[in-house]
Symmetry: C2
Subunit: 386 residues, 2 copies
Amino acid sequence: MTGVNATGVKESERLARVVLSRIGEPGDPRLTDLVHQLGGEMVLASLRHQAADRELGADLAERLESADPVLELERASAQGIRFVVPGDAEWPAGLDDLAHAPHLHERGGVPVGLWCRGKPRLDQVTEQAVSVVGSRSATTYGADVAADIAGTLARASWTVVSGAAFGIDQAAHRGALANRGPTLAVLACGADRAYPAAHRSLIDYIADFGLVVSEAPPGCAPTRIRFLARNRVIAGLTRGAVVVEAAVRSGALNTANWAGGLGRTVMAVPGPVTSAPSAGAHQLIRARDALLVTSGEEVLEAVGPIGSFTLEDPREPEHPRDRLPRRERQVLDAVPLVQAVDSSSIARTAGIAHGRTKDALLVLHRAGLVEHSLGRWRVVTDQESP
Amino acid sequence: MTGVNATGVKESERLARVVLSRIGEPGDPRLTDLVHQLGGEMVLASLRHQAADRELGADLAERLESADPVLELERASAQGIRFVVPGDAEWPAGLDDLAHAPHLHERGGVPVGLWCRGKPRLDQVTEQAVSVVGSRSATTYGADVAADIAGTLARASWTVVSGAAFGIDQAAHRGALANRGPTLAVLACGADRAYPAAHRSLIDYIADFGLVVSEAPPGCAPTRIRFLARNRVIAGLTRGAVVVEAAVRSGALNTANWAGGLGRTVMAVPGPVTSAPSAGAHQLIRARDALLVTSGEEVLEAVGPIGSFTLEDPREPEHPRDRLPRRERQVLDAVPLVQAVDSSSIARTAGIAHGRTKDALLVLHRAGLVEHSLGRWRVVTDQESP
């Protein structure tokens, strides 16, 4: 078993990927594509060869030289962080879909590895997972809906994946945690760090009860490009993305684009058309890039295996009219709403014989649906229809 | 010209249709389909024949007997109401599409004729027309959005068609009138009457500046089945239907179904998922039966001739980042958001030579996008993105 851990990944391959994770940038396709095709060891050997031949910049050569992956793994481990790579039992198959997805913003490809903080196995916790993402400047409406959807997903044992940001992300994680559901935060900085700093305790709480994941190694700071790369990991780990509120240009739409490119189910929650934070969600639905969803149940119906969670179309409570036999219904439809008329006039409108119309009116009267006075009939109005 | 008016419709045919309009029910397909195929005169002659042979009920025979279409037209004319029939110059071609549309709720077919109150020609006022329909128990949000959309349509010289009901209908008519736009009310009762009674002055105002239309002859009372028949006339007269707020079971969804069956563009305005009056609109969009629209401009884009009104995708105001050259943008994306780092670290993250990175940082600093202190750099944060 020397050099090969229980998961089938050679230790030398894991260590090579630690070095590549440290010297490369998350989602840099020049690195991810090559490593996916050739493996970490071969790519690292090639880089070392280039460094020896002085083809690499002095800085990169120096960093290659000074890399100490064993120490790196030890330090991470002391922080409760492990490095999961392709071939590990807990590597989620969904991430490999990134090999074939279109690049966005010059980012793309299968991560070299993911740094994970928390107890659950990454593959198990993402077996049934949906992301709930949106604006950092969410409205209370958006935050409430995000928490509500996350809660429903959690109660159905689906994992809520998000980015631990202010606004919708936070509401989604909290909605899952409040329902004792698994939740997973994918960060743009190292899994040991907290961004935003105000979410230190939220992120630690997620690590205690769920999983905090990053493509960037411990210690890394968040940068804009790392957020864009991060969003593709969120998409790769999930079966669908729910955009709750998103400005027209926002990270949430970037996540939705990644999810769409990966063939995941993209969903969006509408809001008032007068609310700017909903504009991005409306744009997604208008472009038919996203399915409109209004509840966690609708999300489950969209992402679950076909038939596993089927919603009936929403219905108003049944109206007494629905239980009427056909003839009584026809007569009722012919009774005026305002000015009462005699039964012969109703019979004429309904196209039903006068005697039968009178019988039907008596039935309708007993049911409380029509009223009469001095031989004239009208509808008892209490309904929205017609 | 005896017996033929200027429009090409024989006077005898018009008078026959007056009788049929009076003795029949709006949208009764047993009548409308036959009259569309054979013409009013032939159907009326056949009915009279059946009455003579006592095949018809005594009541119907009596009403046939007592019908006085000339007097009927005179009385209507005294109320400012004319009877428009197929073949008239002002008969809108769109209504004939009803001959081929599926029946709904046992209603359907081309109207025998339409009773019109108001000056504009029916064909001209509906040449560019959209219906704006929705819940009678609308929220202020829904009413505001309906009025806003109607106003935009009116300013673009599109006619707003609705049903003069409480709530969304009222807001739509008022939004059009407030913008001096044409508007048209299709009633379930006679064009001389007002339902609801509280809208008497609104309906009179529409008749003064637009058109009030009904398939039912003057004096007729509104019944549920006449509302269902009325909704098909709204759909026939328009190029598209906009559902603003609609409960799951509502007349507005019935209008949307008619519009869809006629191949018209069905649109729906979203709202908060927590608002029951928006549930019907959301259902239409989810089922892909309706296009999500958020403004009158989007309605115009959807119903206008292709290319006549093209919206750009909504955009956030341009960010200074967008105007940066590629290298400066790459460097900016590599600058940390929180904890400042030195320029060599940024160069490493960006994958750009140190000297060039330093030059780019100076450009970014002059643009106010990065800040530095003691040789360490970080982003000036003010943006929603990433």
